[in-house]
Symmetry: C2
Subunit: 370 residues, 2 copies
């Protein structure tokens, strides 16, 4: 079935924006006339043209403006997400599709935002354009898990990351935890860092490890072209971290830092301090992060911080790197949550992917309770 | 290179004997004249014809005896393991190859038994036959890990198997451990059972779980033909298990049972009691098992038994099924060995394979200290 192929192509195009569109969704668009693609495009960067507009531009470039107008009129358009219906940084795409008189719109999913969900489709229908919603729906949702989570849960998409030995330990009793995983695993974890808008660690881990919290991959490794800009994720600290020599790496670069704690807020260049009254302020903190366009975060540790997110059911994805060694019963559990009363009431995740990095294993789980 | 292809074919053929040749090694043989296979065979069942003899028979069947004799004379023969040089159940294959006047023998590895290692090759050389040892050596060794372990370590090949939650637990504090893994994982573990000569559990597990310790797979599922017989593995109990209603499933069938303990031995139909003086008698017990042609065992639990094998470095393979759930810090560790003083001295395994069974993950590790 050709329709499926065209939608699959739209999804492929959408993915090209992975590292640059957040907090926007990834969107791809394919314009088809007589079963042939006459234009395609994707949303390339937050604040810039949407996929539909880029597909129209692509058609014009290919055929010249005059012929493009003729071709687009009466065409079928495939897009993974409902075209926008409100003016924000750019004019709404629904209007453009109406203006260019397309014949039919296929969209994978509606916009998850309950306030505008279905509005784009309504506008198109009113203008006499055929619409079909739901083609490759699951794939389209999966593609934009981050955006859907933001819209539905009003918080960033949360990825928890931990390493562990094959017996589930993260560190020896004395705290030693370096070099459990191998260099390929560590490199891969930089790839996860590159896909999020913020990296969060607890204050203790920040003080003990003095991590840089930066993505150390080249543009080539990131698959970015010459002209494409990569923005380092924001460094996020949970707890009252004070600037000092001990944490020089965190404060050294020009990266933006956000610190959330119960201490009174103060101001500093590049550093934003957020102050909370409640003892358990994680949820409030997360909302404030999303308000600052931090649509996704990677929580890297320490274990207390990771477990706080699990216990509060504040995560969407768990990534575990398992190294082929025993750390033994005297060592510290990587994941340490309360036990259920019975196995059937145990917290279950959805295993979605398993990858090998030399002899380490990376397993990716989704939170079933999403 | 054709030589590699012929040896690879010999390995393929050898694998057909996987479920029926133990304690013998799997062996495949290919006879080649003018770059064409004129005969092939494999060792099908313990006590029956070896691969070389079956390949010669196959050639005779294809071409008739007279033509076969002419063809085999001056041929190249590919076999994964050194041809035998001593008469045991069958006449030595080295003699046959000499008698049929082959031109050159390619063998993957020498016989691991230090007493006869190289003797077959010596005989052939003495008879003026060219020999080449080492083609696909690693693959040939991997194929017969069981046989090599038996010969070198004088004990069965030992596979440890455990299930665990993603946080490394096997059971709740109250002992509940049923249904952590899914039905596909459990089915797969029957496949492992089918590949060993004995299944070992500790006395406590036997009493608590009353397991059948049988392979519950059809001949079709096992990939066995009509004429091929499948023999259930021997049930092996570590500790003084007494016959009672509580353990009816273990004692119910006609399967052979071996019980090793410090209690005085007694006699019973189908049940052999072995008596040991030393407190830690595992090694002695293992040797006695090999003497009874139990060339491979699967250790299924409980955790104390599994950990005793790990701590004593008595294992060759560890199979872990990881289920996508948390059992929490109050639950019982699946693997619980002593911790190292430093991570660099931690016991490390070799990760060799990772497989998915729905949402469970099966990881296979080799003991690096082999």
């Amino acid at each position: 079935m050709k329709d499926l192929e065209f939608m699959a192509r739209a999804i492929e195009l959408a993915k090209k924006g992975k590292l640059t569109v957040q907090p926007n969704p990834m969107v791809g668009c394919v314009i088809v006339k007589n079963n042939k693609i006459i234009g395609e495009g994707w949303h390339k960067e937050y604040g810039k043209d949407h996929a539909e507009i880029n597909a129209i531009k692509n058609c014009k470039k290919k055929f010249g403006v005059k012929k493009a107008l003729k071709l687009i009129a009466g065409s079928n358009v495939y897009v993974n997400l409902e075209p926008c219906s409100i003016e924000k940084n750019t004019p709404p795409c629904s209007n453009a599709l109406i203006k260019y008189q397309i014949k039919k719109l296929f969209c994978g999913t509606l916009d998850p935002n309950p306030k505008i969900n279905g509005r784009g489709i309504k506008l198109l229908k009113k203008a006499g354009i055929d619409t079909s919603v739901g083609l490759l729906k699951n794939e389209c949702k999966e593609l934009n898990r981050i955006f859907f989570t933001n819209q539905i849960k009003s918080r960033p998409y949360i990825i928890l990351k931990s390493a562990q030995s094959l017996d589930g330990k993260i560190a020896l009793q004395n705290g030693e935890s370096n070099w459990i995983t191998n260099s390929e695993s560590r490199k891969n974890s930089h790839r996860i860092r590159s896909s999020v808008k913020g990296i969060l660690v607890g204050r203790n881990t920040a003080e003990q490890d003095n991590p840089s919290l930066t993505v150390r991959l080249s543009k080539k490794e990131l698959g970015l072209g010459k002209g494409e800009l990569f923005q380092q994720p924001v460094k996020i600290i949970l707890g009252n971290l004070k600037q000092s020599k001990k944490v020089s790496k965190i404060f050294s670069s020009n990266a933006k830092i956000i610190i959330g704690s119960r201490q009174s807020a103060k101001k500093s260049k590049n550093v934003e301090y957020l102050e909370y009254k409640k003892k358990n302020f994680i949820e409030e903190f997360l909302q404030d992060l999303l308000d600052r366009n931090i649509s996704s975060i990677l929580v890297e540790g320490g274990q207390k911080t990771l477990n706080a997110f699990i216990v509060n059911n504040l995560f969407d994805e768990l990534v575990l790197y398992t190294a082929p060694m025993f750390l033994g019963k005297g060592s510290i559990n990587a994941l340490s949550v309360n036990s259920p009363n019975a196995i059937k009431t145990a917290m279950k995740l959805k295993m979605v992917r398993v990858e090998k990095f030399k002899e380490d294993i990376k397993t990716t789980y989704y939170n079933k309770r999403l």
